[in-house]
Symmetry: C2
DNA sequence: CGGTATCCATAAGGATACTG
DNA sequence: CAGTATCCTTATGGATACCG
């Protein structure tokens, strides 16, 4: 019975592996507006480095979530777009977004409460600095 | 217009941050069967180290996704369970699981195709060893 | 323009001995 | 039983120079 737990979680773990990492989702969202060029992505995803953008684009392309079209012009023009599969994924993610929005406040409060009791227990007074 | 992309992805990135990492989902799945003890979790999640289990349990508890109940007996007995919020999350994840199952084959094929062309391009013959 | 290559810092994760 | 502490290895990510 025990191993079934792992088995049950497996497809989920799989999908999250494709989509995990700091940037994949942002890239998917950014690329969802139709064909987008490399530099557009670089600009629209705040804080991403060129290296990470490239790495994640390749990963998503490899998983069949993104198409990469090279126009052999000079200067080169490369366009990325979501595949049908990725668009489906994107709409599944909507449920998650709704969950996040519904519970965002609750999570923040839960953390505050947790940090408060955690830092209050060891000493007499609760230490003012948040754990992290 | 560009910054809106980040804003749009943000709640999603947030939720995935809570749930990201190699183990969180497996823990959530394992803990979903009602109150579960530490050692049960350790056994049912194959490959997890004690350290990682503890770290992830604390993180999930802090986010308000898991309750931790200590029975002050000897030997100690600690039980973990999902909160209502986490159960909701869990059902939202169902959509993702379905997506993963529908497209699992397609993803595998996409990868194989990608790896094939990628290793075929540089040399004349496609190298037999898969990239990774 | 659209990347690669390189170097470096930090974080995540594993193994496992020890403890109340 | 349910952890914590410690040590170590690997993976992730950032900055940026360089190239076709």
């Amino acid at each position: 019975m025990s191993e079934e737990v792992t088995a049950e979680a497996c497809p989920l773990v799989e999908v999250l592996d494709h989509v995990a990492g700091k940037w994949s989702i942002s890239i998917l969202v950014a690329a969802a507006r139709g064909p987008v060029r490399f530099t557009e992505l670089e600009r629209s995803i705040e804080g991403i480095s060129r290296r990470m953008l490239t790495l994640n684009l390749r990963k998503l392309e490899r998983d069949g979530l993104l198409t990469r079209t090279v126009h052999p012009t000079v200067p080169p023009k490369v366009e990325y777009d979501l595949t049908a599969m990725a668009r489906e994924l994107y709409s599944s993610l909507t449920g998650l977004m709704e969950w996040a929005e519904r519970h965002r406040g609750a999570i923040t409060r839960a953390r505050a409460a947790y940090d408060a009791t955690a830092s209050a227990e060891p000493s007499g007074q609760p230490s003012p600095q948040p754990v992290h």
